[in-house]
């Protein structure tokens, strides 16, 4: 009898502790938007992790905050403004295009242009230099021309005889 009671208690205890899993996402639509937005935001505690991926306490709080904003019907821009008003542009992985971020956005293009400019200049200089020292570009004197013509005509007969030798 006692073992039976113990068994029953053990069974009951199991039921008491087994609780239903808390749903991760209350509303899948909100959760998807949360992931989309927070994937583009920096977690200020870990800095190299996005707000969506971070397990920092602050990231949890900010995700909760963004969830409330989404539920309230704020659009993505309004949510980003909410966060930059408090944490600054640093929270955005993709900073906005404005006066203070001009160099940040255009810097790579400027460097590319600068590099292309230098390359172009170098290539032009080199082609000019090589033209100046090009041996084919030298004017031949009268005597040289005569020698050349002689050499060329001398060259021809052995070529034809060579052909004849083969056949």
């Amino acid at each position: 009898m006692r073992t039976l009671i113990l068994l029953l208690v053990a069974l009951l205890a199991g039921q008491v502790f087994a609780r239903e899993a808390v749903p991760v996402a209350e509303d899948p639509v909100i959760e998807q938007r949360l992931i989309d937005i927070s994937g583009e935001l920096r977690c200020l505690v870990c800095q190299n992790e996005s707000l969506a991926a971070s397990h920092a306490e602050l990231a949890l709080d900010l995700r909760r905050e963004i969830r409330t904003l989404i539920a309230r019907g704020d659009n993505d821009d309004a949510i980003r403004t909410f966060l930059t008003d408090r944490y600054g542009d640093f929270i955005l992985y993709r900073p906005q295009f404005k006066r203070t971020t001009l160099l940040l956005w255009l810097g790579p293009a400027l460097l590319l242009l600068l590099g292309l400019g230098l390359l172009f200049r170098q290539l032009r200089r080199r082609s000019r230099e090589s033209k100046a020292s090009d041996p084919t570009d030298v004017e031949l004197s009268h005597d040289e021309r005569a020698t050349l013509a002689k050499l060329l005509t001398e060259e021809a007969p052995p070529a034809s005889s060579g052909k004849g030798g083969k056949s």
Binding site: L44, V45, Q47, E57, L58, D61, L62, E65, T84, D85, R86, Y87, G88, D89, F90
Partner: protein, 174 residues
Amino acid sequence: MSKYLWPLGIFLVLVVFLGVGLTLDPREVPSPLVGKAAPAFELPQLHEPARKFSPAEMKGRVWMLNVWASWCVSCRDEHPVLVELSRTKVVPIYGLDYKDSRTDALRWLTQFGDPYDLSVADVDGRIGIEYGVYGVPETYVIDKAGTIRYKHIGPVNQEALKKTILPLIAELNK
């Protein structure tokens, strides 16, 4: 000759940039709240939860808002500095007890001393978000009009106090 000096020039420019980079702390993110009105809130006081405190009550005074928590390790480094500052009565220090349990916070204050004129309890960290708190401790200097004039991230040390905070408070009190 100048052709051979080019790499040296580029190298020196890089050295300067990297050298400046070494002196900067990437954890110190400039706050957009400096120069703006301190966000309003109304929170229960830590010692008497039935009573509330709101920054609006501080209009006309220069004050410091220090975000702290009993679980925060660097707050312990900072604490003696604040206790000493509170003895000089130069500036009222108000504490924002961030995401803390009341019993832990009260025990912490009895153990290490209480430099705060009063502390408020921000249990869920909502007000911390309003103030852009991302690493406790953080300290704000707020002027008579209720505008945030300075934010210090991390523990306040004697150097920051003497070089920046105290001169600013003297300036704001003029």
